[in-house]
């Protein structure tokens, strides 16, 4: 069965500092990997996705993530955090489930940005 682990429940960074959110996945084949962001009272927004090809993927809002098969990781990074980045971030893995993609979410990492 596929699974996702986000080891950090809560992270606090200063505005302007760099950010890395960790994600480890378990899946038998090459996975589809996603990062979503959920701001308070808002729906889920896709930041970026990895399906195949270049292991470094660029997303919206200046985020990027790197797929490392050897480490089963898909960490999310941003070089300089803005106060508006404060939100909850979910890593997810998708796998084929008989004609459609079944997506499993991690438990999320809540990001706090301090001035």
């Amino acid at each position: 069965a596929q699974s996702v682990t986000q080891p950090d429940i809560h992270i606090t960074v200063s505005e302007g500092a760099s950010l890395e959110l960790r994600c480890n996945y378990s899946y038998g084949a090459t996975p589809y990997l996603f990062w979503y962001v959920q701001s308070p009272g808002q729906g889920l927004q896709l930041l970026l996705k990895y399906f195949s090809g270049d292991t470094l993927v660029q997303g919206i809002k200046g985020f990027e993530a790197e797929f490392k098969r050897s480490q089963s990781s898909f960490n999310l990074r941003k070089p300089s955090v803005h106060w508006s980045d404060a939100a909850e971030y979910f890593c997810a893995v998708g796998g084929d489930s008989g004609g459609y993609q079944k997506v499993t979410f991690g438990t999320g990492t809540k990001l706090q940005v301090i001035p």
């Binding site: 996603f34 979503y36 889920l44 399906f51 997506v103 438990t107």
Partner: protein
């Protein structure tokens, strides 16, 4: 992409009652998905709904508690039946388009 709307956006209900949540997509899609997000928790898949057939439920979820309808390729409903305070959650509808899942804004349900 896909634009998804849900009704209601939020509701407060009494225990023992039922609530039906509607999900409308702006394009025809084969599969629709219903998720639950309990307070402070991640998303958990409830069921997958394919047009014209019965929904497929994940472990821990049953049709009697969460009946789903899928009358056409752009619409689905999820009913939360015989509610208890433990059903207080955000319920989200999603669709898959080209291997990417798009989510509705969610329905925030509070059961008293």
């Amino acid at each position: 992409s896909a634009v998804i709307s849900q009704k209601p956006s939020r509701d407060i209900c009494q225990r023992g009652t039922s609530l039906t949540i509607q999900c409308q997509v702006d394009s025809q899609v084969t599969m629709m998905f219903w998720y639950r997000q309990q307070p402070g928790q991640s998303l958990t898949l409830i069921a997958t709904a394919n047009q014209g057939s019965e929904a497929t439920y994940e472990s821990g979820f049953v049709i009697d508690k969460f009946p789903i309808s899928r009358p056409n390729l752009t619409f689905s409903t999820l009913t939360v039946s015989n509610m208890s305070p433990e059903d207080s959650s955000i319920y989200l509808c999603s669709v898959e388009v080209y291997n990417e899942q798009f989510f509705g804004p969610g329905t925030r349900l509070t059961v008293l």
